[in-house]
């Protein structure tokens, strides 16, 4: 298992290099001049432009810019944005917002998703099961954008239960509404997958054997069925976790939370290659590590899956 993990970690290196290079090249190819944008379109002295361009290595070829940037990144030096702010400091300011939002949402969706999913799958075709299938289809079918707006209009603007936007009130007040909306959206998918997987495993031969030899239903569910049914559920949670930041761009935009998502969105507009690639690298490493953990968990949960 250790050798398997090591091999997987080594494969990550070339994929990481290719992906970060693609992102860097895409930002490099964006139209517009970031230095000119600093002065808001007013003419700048040629000497100023030249100094700035030299400082940010803007006139180097794509490859050497990328190598220079990655070299600094590996040394822990994230560089500066074009308006002279330290990227590392900016990120440190914004991480907590996105983390609080994401973790609250994740907690809501996991607790409710697993509870309802397990119950509905175990009592298949029961009342809860039917209600859950209908409700989750509805949640999945309403675009996330519409749900977020609707919740904001009703619960914040009309009823005044939550702050309308911003994170000034801190956790949990400011995060409760956006995190609940995100959590409900995620809950639908998780509950459906748990339910389907559990219902499928519940029909397996070993469940009948367990019943025949007189095991209590509770023991069959928690010790035998669940352990086998969790594989797809874990895959889903893993992928979902890795995609959290992508979703944060829209949520943070609507609820005006000043987190990583908004920072990323603005940075793409400003052609801040450094910020975009740093964040993409973090996302990428997160995605690959989560995938690895999921694969390793497979082996722990199901001894038939062996990693050699």
């Amino acid at each position: 298992m250790f050798r398997y993990a090591l091999r997987r970690l080594i494969i990550m290196v070339p994929i990481g290099i290719i992906v970060t290079f693609i992102v860097y090249a895409m930002v490099f190819a964006l139209p517009g001049d970031p230095i000119q944008a600093l002065s808001g379109g007013k003419p700048l002295a040629p000497s100023v432009i030249a100094a700035k361009r030299a400082y940010y290595h803007l006139d180097d070829p794509l490859f050497s810019q990328y190598l220079h940037f990655m070299g600094n990144l590996l040394q822990g030096n994230l560089g500066q944005t074009f308006d002279g702010q330290d990227i590392g400091e900016q990120l440190a300011l914004r991480w907590p917002v996105t983390l609080q939002l994401g973790l609250t949402a994740l907690a809501i969706q996991t607790v409710f998703g697993l509870l309802f999913g397990i119950y509905a799958g175990w009592r298949r075709d029961g009342l809860v099961d039917r209600a859950l299938l209908g409700a989750t289809l509805a949640v999945l079918a309403v675009p996330g954008l519409v749900v977020m707006f609707f919740a904001q209009s009703v619960f914040s603007v009309q009823l005044g239960w939550f702050p309308v936007s911003g994170s000034a009130d801190g956790w949990p007040t400011s995060y409760l509404l956006p995190a609940t909306v995100l959590g409900v959206l995620g809950f639908a998918g998780l509950a459906r997958i748990t339910r389907t997987s559990l219902a499928e495993v519940a029909g397996a031969d070993f469940v009948r054997t367990g019943r025949a030899k007189g095991l209590s239903p509770q023991r069959i569910l928690w010790r035998h069925v669940l352990r086998n049914a969790l594989l797809p559920v874990i895959t889903y949670i893993g992928l979902d976790l890795a995609g959290t930041l992508g979703g944060a761009i829209i949520t943070e935009g609507i609820y005006n939370l000043n987190g990583i998502g908004q920072f990323m969105f603005r940075s793409i507009g400003m052609k801040e290659g450094g910020v975009v690639v740093t964040l993409s690298t973090v996302l990428l490493i997160g995605y690959m590590v989560v995938n690895l953990i999921v694969d390793l968990l497979y082996g722990l949960l199901d001894p038939r899956v062996r990693h050699v």
Partner: protein, 297 residues
């Protein structure tokens, strides 16, 4: 946040077991009220996209600022927008981008995923390596970030630009599903028999592999139509999708975001958008149930 696309991809499993053939599946589908209902809604929306004049005689661009933001009335069901244009006409005309994006994304995406998936599944080694590794890289790209960066590069964005970006970043999911089904079909007896009889690879792919492995991808595609509509609206809302003077639901919602007191500006496009996505999802769900023999037990 979980994207519906993820649920769709995780819920659809590769199966190659006696999926009912076209006519039988269709007959069974037509007996399901959910399928018929969603089918009717989709037909109406498509008709709205193709012939908006059937539904409204008002010109969506004939505006009078004096009527700005007036609420719904008997003569003007949906009221007026910021510019004082008839909102009903605008919402009707807004169907076109959504339908165009969803239809083109699903058609092109299906063809790309199907072709590459069959090639990767049938030709192990170099072809499979090339296609699968490319898919790995695209999968690892943070999806929405890549979309934003690519869309920023276009100064003028049309429906086709958005459809292109969604397909470009979305094909790996369908390709992987198709590839895994093809992998299980390629070692079946009838394929081996055809090969022994001297059939060429294109013939086997077309006559034996394709019909026996296409069902899972088909249901994945119908389910992702709704996802594509939602993606277009979200991108447009972020300001990197369609631009005025294009009329689209995403744009209308984005504008309504700044005028919270005039709730009708938000409600009507959101309602139509939700109805469209929901119908496509419901249709995809029933199609999947009909095509997946495991779920029919």
């Amino acid at each position: 946040m979980s994207s519906p696309a993820l649920v769709v991809a995780t819920e659809t499993e590769p199966t190659a077991e006696d999926a009912p053939a076209g006519a039988a599946a269709l007959r069974e589908l037509l007996r399901k009220p959910r399928f018929v209902l969603s089918g009717v809604v989709i037909l109406v929306i498509v008709a709205m996209a193709a012939f908006p004049r059937l539904f409204t005689s008002a010109d969506p661009t004939a505006c009078n600022l004096r009527y700005s933001k007036i609420g719904p009335s008997a003569a003007h069901w949906f009221g007026y927008d910021i510019q004082g244009c008839d909102y009903f006409a605008n919402v009707i005309y807004g169907a076109r981008p959504s339908v165009l994006v969803s239809v083109s994304v699903s058609l092109v995406g299906f063809v790309v995923a199907c072709t590459l998936g069959m090639l990767a599944g049938y030709f192990p080694g170099f072809v499979d390596g090339l296609v699968s590794r490319t898919a790995d890289v695209l999968f690892a790209l943070p999806g929405i970030v890549a979309m934003i960066v690519i869309l920023q590069a276009f100064s003028a964005r049309s429906v086709w630009t958005i459809a292109f970006v969604i397909v470009l970043l979305g094909w790996p999911a369908g390709m992987r599903l198709m590839r895994s089904t093809v992998l299980s079909v390629r070692s079946r007896e009838y394929v081996l028999a055809a090969r022994v009889l001297g059939a060429t690879a294109p013939h086997i792919l077309r006559k034996h592999i394709f019909p026996n492995s296409v069902a899972p991808l088909l249901s994945l595609t119908t389910l992702s139509v709704g996802v594509a509509v939602g993606t277009e609206a979200a991108l447009t809302f972020l300001g990197i999708g369609l631009q005025p003077p294009t009329i689209s639901w995403g744009l209308q919602i984005a504008i309504a975001a700044s005028y919270r007191d005039d709730i009708h500006l938000f409600v009507f496009p959101a309602l139509f958008l939700t109805l469209t996505v929901m119908s496509f999802m419901m249709m995809g769900d029933t199609v999947r149930d009909a095509l997946d023999p495991k779920l029919r037990k």
